[in-house]
């Protein structure tokens, strides 16, 4: 215990903790300032973990560097001769030093998590999605980096070992993210697939845990054990787990890469609705966006006849199923629509146009000029002449006439939606005549 305390107070442990916290917080601040990041934030617990996973690309190599520094320290400082004559077995000293570094890694990640969570606490509206499993894998990934660094530092106790190990771990973690195959998921850090409404499959998470723990344990045994061949046992376990994980196909499921690592999260996809009419419902994982999306969607929905659509009026789509039927009035899946670490919609005007497009799209096989013109007029009508000013249809004589007459406008839009559902081309021709 005294060794762990000393390591934390005087050794590399304290430096590692401060470095991880500072770098992670700096990355967060930089990402928050740019505010144009897509897909990393969903106002949820999993969103925070997803961000932690992203920071692992830099924090993992930092941990590896600290491991290499401490692993080679005794020999580099010339303390080995003193240590060789003490009764305490070497592995116990290493466990104390390594334990302190693990505590530093956990502490550093915790600080980053607290900083992010503290900053965005009012913006968190969903805390499911097995975020605890993801946190465990992020921590284990960094600990595996630490262990590998420790072993390499012990084997090559040079002062340059730490930066070289950091660079190697960075490259080995970063390059696979550009590969679309299962091997990429074996990267130690920044490897977890994430998507709104998705959660890690428990079976895959269990294999990933075996992979990371096995790797870390074999590295530590190579570094510290008197009988280094013991490292073969966890190494074999790690290889077996990796052999199961590597062939899992990486694919895009409309929500996240590597659908084989994730599964839909039913709680995240449950509906959270506005209280006033017309009702707007979002998936629970995007509940933070409800007020702003409601404000954008309700004026459009108010123009549309309530009796003319199916039950999914104003409903956010699930991730797996894109809108493909006319008249559903489906709100597009809102992943990546939030400004990082806030509950504000990125580009509200763009989202408003997309909502109009989603509500009024015509999904007929044949798209005649009359269909296209009717669609343009419908968009101009629901967005208003100012919002749709750039479109030629806003100057359309039919649109201009209808904009002046609200009851005629609603009747026209009802006919438009009816024509869209039935793909009645003659009805479209009549609408634009």
């Amino acid at each position: 215990m005294i060794a762990a305390k000393l390591e934390l107070r005087r050794g590399a442990g304290l430096i590692l903790l401060v470095s991880l916290a500072a770098v992670g917080s700096l990355m967060t601040a930089m990402a928050g300032l740019s505010s144009d990041r897509v897909g990393a934030w969903s106002s949820s617990g999993p969103g925070i973990v997803s961000w932690l996973n992203t920071t692992g690309l830099v924090l993992g190599p930092l941990a590896a560097a600290a491991g290499a520094w401490v692993g080679g320290r005794d020999r580099r400082l010339g303390v080995e001769e003193l240590l060789a004559a003490v009764p305490m077995p070497r592995w116990r000293c290493d466990v104390a030093s390594f334990g302190a570094l693990v505590a530093a890694v956990i502490g550093g990640l915790l600080v980053v998590a607290v900083v992010v969570t503290g900053t965005v606490l009012p913006a968190i509206t969903y805390a499911g999605g097995r975020w605890q499993v993801s946190v465990l894998l992020v921590i284990l990934g960094c600990v595996a980096c630490l262990a590998i660094g420790f072993a390499l530092g012990r084997l090559v106790p040079h002062r340059w070992s730490a930066p070289v190990v950091a660079l190697i771990v960075y490259l080995l973690s970063g390059i696979p993210t550009y590969l679309d195959n299962g091997v990429a998921q074996l990267a130690l850090v920044s490897n977890l697939p994430s998507g709104d409404g998705q959660r890690l499959r428990l079976s895959v998470a269990a294999l990933a845990i075996v992979w990371l723990v096995g790797l870390a344990a074999s590295a530590l045994l190579v570094a510290s054990a008197r009988r280094r061949h013991w490292a073969l046992v966890p190494a074999v376990l790690a290889v077996v787990a990796a052999a199961q994980l590597a062939p899992l196909p990486v694919q895009w499921n409309g929500n996240s890469y590597s659908a084989t690592w994730t599964e839909p999260d039913p709680d995240a996809m449950s509906q959270v609705c506005s209280t006033d009419e017309p009702k707007v419902c979002l998936n629970a994982v995007h509940a933070a966006l409800l007020p702003e999306v409601t404000e954008l969607a309700q004026p459009i929905l108010a123009e549309l006849p309530p009796g003319s659509v199916a039950a999914e009026q104003g409903l956010e789509h699930p991730a797996e199923r894109p809108a493909n039927a006319s008249g559903e009035f489906a709100i597009p899946f809102l992943e990546g629509r939030t400004e990082l670490f806030t509950t504000d919609v990125r580009d509200p005007d763009g989202l408003r146009a997309e909502l109009a497009d989603s509500f009024l799209s015509v999904w007929c096989a044949e798209r005649t000029p009359a269909v296209s013109r009717a669609y343009g007029i419908a968009i101009a009508l629901v967005l208003g002449p100012q919002a749709a000013a750039e479109g030629a249809e806003s100057q359309d004589r039919v649109a201009v006439r209808l904009q002046r007459d609200p009851s005629a406008r609603r009747a026209w839009l009802a006919d438009y939606l009816k024509a869209g559902r039935t793909c009645d081309l003659s009805a479209f021709a009549e609408l634009v005549s």
Binding site: I2, A3, L6, R10, G78, V79, L82, V86, P87, M88
Partner: protein, 276 residues
Amino acid sequence: MMSTDPRSSASAAGHASTIRLSGLSVRYGRGRGARRALDSVDLDLTTGVHGLLGPNGAGKTTLMRVLATILTATSGEVRLLGRDVRHERDRRQIRRQLGYLPQAFGSYPRFTVREFVAYFAWLKEVPSRRAAAAVDRAIERVGLADRADTRMKSLSGGMLRRAGLAQALVNDPDVLLLDEPTVGLDPEQRITFRRLLREVGADTTVLISTHIVDDVAAICDQAILVREGRVVLRTHPAQLERLGAAFGSTEDGTSALERGYTAALHGRAVPSGVAQ
């Protein structure tokens, strides 16, 4: 071995050997390149301060490292405190009762003196309830009490060696091995250091490897001369002085002790009444 000191024999008769070497040989390398660092060394040491003298390459440091249980003997038997160092469990027990200060050693620069010594108290498995007091006592004994909270990187060379000695003393060892312990100490520190070692040697077997014959004369009950891996003489430092008085002259500025040491190394007989 040419001779033994009667006082050593007397003390050996009174006490059981804490260090016993029988036919100890250590060889470095293999085949034609092999070099014998120690050759059939027999040695029995009991409580008291013993000085290990010899030229560079004589095998002093190798002997210290074998006794510190760091280096394994090629052949022969090494028993410390009645235990055989070849057995792992015995070796661990020996190390609990061993203090070792190597010729060159490093430290953790960010640790304070107190933390450095406390860390070694932990490594030496000093019971935690006694550790804090043991650390304070060791630091005080080496005269670093006023520097206990100074970081190791801020210490001078002499203070570093004293901190090293404190870590060697922290477990109240029964066997204390010091390799060139007075290097870097100023005259005042050396005097304090000698006093400390005499005090420690009252109930501990202390073996000091050194080039400085004056240290041996001032502290040691027995001088052990090593040459080419063999123990060539065991005697009281006073007898070395007498040998020096019989050979050479003071014109070249050497002391009688130095001349005695040189003479003994080159096989000159110790004056009668000394040799056994």
